[in-house]
Amino acid sequence: MGFAWGPGDILVYETLYKASGASGSGCSFIHEIRKDEDIYSPILRKLFNESHHIFVGLQTIREELPSKSKKPQFVSISKNYRSVIRACMEELHFGSFFKFLFYSLVSILLAIELIWNLCEVLFIDAAPAGSLLLHLLDWVRLHKADVDERAREVLQSESPAEHHDYWDVPGGTQTLTEFDVKWRHWHEEVDRCMQDNSFASNRHLEVICKILLGDEDTLLDHKELLGTWYHFLVTRLLFCHPTVKPTELHYYAQSCMTMFLDSRSVSEPLDNILLAAFEFDIHQVIKECSIALNNWWFVAHLTDLLDHCKLLQSHNLHFGSNLREFLLLEYASGLFTHHSLWQLAVDYFDHCPEFGRVYLELQIERVPLETERKALKVLRICEQRQMSEQVRSICKIMAMRALRNNRLGSALSWSIRAKDAAFATLISERFLQDYCAKGTFSDLDLIDNLGPAMLLSDRLTFLGKYREFHKLYGEKRFREAAKLLLSLMTAKIAPQSFWMTLLTDALPLLEQKEVIFTADQTYELMFCLEELTSSLNITASSTDRPMQEEDVEVTKVELLRLALARNLAQAIVKEGTVET
């Protein structure tokens, strides 16, 4: 098999060679393998679009405000991201019979939301000791809703009063130390009750008591209820160290994980990521996530948010940009390979200060332009960012296509947009060729209404003026027509190749009964004719022209000379006559 890399996909084809045995003819198909399947899922598209909206909003938060006052904003943005993830999950969940297909997707989204939520609690919200545990409880509860229901029922069946007091935790009027003292007191009480064997009669009550004491073995006995090691962790913290400080978390996390997962089960990537989070090692979290997930969406957005919270140390990577920019560029480049989502990627590139523009310049030219409307949108993107090279190249592509389909007006409008004088000249040449071939102008509606666009190129100006001459002639305004015709040659607006045609056009004016050209004008016409013939003579001797053509040319010149001479005579007489 052979293959070739594309921007996001691989093209694979069968070659003539087989792995073993003689070579034979392969099938004539080319297979396109997509690296990133997820972008093409219709439900995930909503994720990309909505998160794009949140991303752009995040970038426009003003920098001058101190970070302290921006924290609630960041937390709310983080919650927005998470609600978008949850909305996608729910939709996948309820998505009828495709559930089994999307099952892995749902579990990935669940994991992503779990990690994001934890990062929000630990890094963005940065809860201090005391409220930290509450947030962790919420976190676990949110993700283990059903398990927690049952556990709580078991735990809270007896002694509601103590629990009521218990939940009246910091946030209220007590300080951390006050609460700590109270809690220790309560803990000792329960311990004493245990030692006294006051609950010896009821086995269940005994178990509950042990749990309340935070006895590890009892908790581990109820592994199935807990489900995961982080649930175990939070439960243990709840009953042993409710005033845990953020910096102490990782001790407990590590030990809980080891205790929960026996030697048989291996830690999954998710576990490593969560552990890294508990250790407050943001870079490790990002690194592990990048490896575990096949789409850059999660790490790119999370890193961007953390960077805005000023939590990432700027840390130049070998490739020169920082971590946030690297991830955003990767994500956006992936988006660009999508036939539709490329428009979102533009905004991401805009917010990568170092390399975003370069990436955009390279990618935007490769967007396929099937319709004019799409080309207009791409052009608008380029113009807004002053990418004049790309503007010119896109306009040229569209103009060439129009020209090939004989849409001269479209071609002209594209070259006007790009201010491409060379192309405008090309189009005018086409018009003039058409005129010489057919004797009339095609597309009069265009030429008659050129307006200021006429000035874009000399040839175009000539075309416009020439058409004006024809109009004047048609309206029988001969004097003005004559003047215009002459000026076209003397002001050198007309290309010399066209002078013969112009002079031939002058013939009917010369042949009129009434004298139209003045003597001076006739002299000038003669001068032009001489100039033309002398240059033609120089070329005629070197080129090999057929006899008839030369004859025609010679006859034309002679006719002209005759007409000019006659006109001159009449003009001199007329000007010399004194009106009485």
């Binding site: 752009v56 004019e372 209404n449 050129l450 307006g451």
Partner: protein
């Protein structure tokens, strides 16, 4: 302005149109159709915002559009119009013109008629850019500069005007039952009279100055000679086609291409425009006279240009209100209708108090309480 919610639909929306409500019913519009673009599989979809429609899925807000049915569409949907209550005509980027039928009982869509290569180049496809219909007649225009007239239920083409334009025709609208108006990419408005057999326009209007491509056109619902156009530079121009060669008023509307302009069908004091820059503007002109608009006659004969002067004579007719539009005079109010930072708003439609629009951010916005 109450908050307007986005419904994300996983396809970039190129056109949205309300299904017409029968006048006898006086009902609010409930159903709208959308067309997508730039997808590998484009679709036309029909949505409902009826509050009596309840689905199994708890979808949050009342009036959130629910998808009723959809159908695959070959090529981008470049224009979409309701032919009548059940049929939709679409213009495709492959040059095809299709009539879809919406079966309300089974909530399905099927292809009723297809003209596969209506617009074409000799050796390539030419996108069909716009379609307008007045049942059973359908008129389409395309990048190939052709104007084609069809009749629903008739196989062949009724009339073709070849080479009507040397540049792309972007939009078309009916002026009268036998006259249409087209706008093209070199900034010209052309009137075509179907009663004449010739293949040339009966009138050509254009702006003096730069030939800015025009993308959309709409006719005033009551006054057949007033049209509004929008172009590449985002300027809104209001023209009187009977008079002169230049627009009566030019207003700076948007910072990028204006994709659609619509007069409100029953309340033409209101105009709506949407643009590539992501904004949707609601223009409201107020007439100073207390006379109801249909009793006001008379034309404002003074030519006004961009800097509007107060028209001579006291009769502030409705026409003069649009034609001498100048926002600084306070007679013209403009409101943004969408939250900022959306991608391009490609299409809008307004009927009664309801407005629907679709964006490149794959979102549909519906506002059911437009102040008209």
């Amino acid at each position: 302005m109450e908050s307007i919610n986005a419904k994300y639909v996983s396809q970039k929306i190129s056109k949205t149109r309300w299904r017409p409500v029968s006048h006898s019913d006086l009902q609010l519009p409930e159903i709208f159709a959308t067309g997508s673009w730039d997808n590998e599989d484009n679709r036309i979809s029909i949505w409902s915002i009826g509050s009596n429609l309840s689905t199994g899925m708890e979808d949050g807000f009342e009036g959130d559009p629910q998808l009723l049915c959809e159908h695959k569409h070959d090529g981008d949907v470049l224009d979409l119009q309701f032919l009548d209550q059940d049929r939709i005509v679409t213009a495709s980027s492959t040059g095809a013109v299709t009539i879809f039928r919406h079966h309300q009982n089974s909530q399905t869509i099927s292809v009723s008629q297809l003209w596969a290569r209506a617009h074409r180049y000799p050796c390539d496809n030419a996108p069909c850019t716009s379609v307008v219909c007045s049942s059973p007649e359908i008129v389409t225009v395309g990048e190939d500069g052709r104007i084609i007239v069809f009749r629903a239920d008739q196989e062949g083409v009724v009339r073709v005007i070849e080479n009507a334009d040397s540049s792309t025709i972007h939009a078309v609208t009916y002026l009268r039952t036998t006259e249409i108006l087209t706008v093209n990419s070199i900034g010209q408005l052309k009137l075509w009279d179907f009663r004449q057999q010739s293949n040339s326009p009966s009138q050509i209007l254009s702006l003096s100055g730069d030939r800015v491509p025009l993308h959309c056109v709409d006719r005033h619902p009551n006054q057949q000679h007033i049209v509004a156009t929008g172009g590449q530079d985002g300027m809104l121009c209001v023209w009187d086609v009977r008079q002169g060669n230049t627009p009566f008023s030019l207003m700076e509307a948007h910072t990028a291409e204006m994709w659609e302009v619509h007069f409100h069908p029953t309340n033409p004091d209101h105009l709506f425009t949407c643009s590539e820059d992501g904004s949707l503007l609601h223009w409201e002109t107020s007439s100073h006279s207390d006379m109801p608009s249909f009793l006001q006659g008379g034309r404002n004969s003074s030519m006004v240009s961009r800097s509007a002067m107060a028209p001579a004579g006291g009769n502030q007719s409705l026409i003069s209100a649009w034609l001498s539009g100048d926002s600084s005079k306070g007679r013209l109010e403009t409101t943004h209708m969408l939250p900022s930072q959306t991608l391009s708003v490609n299409s809008l439609d307004v009927l009664g108090p309801c407005l629907v629009c679709g964006t490149d951010g794959e979102a549909i916005f519906v506002n059911r309480q437009v102040p008209v």
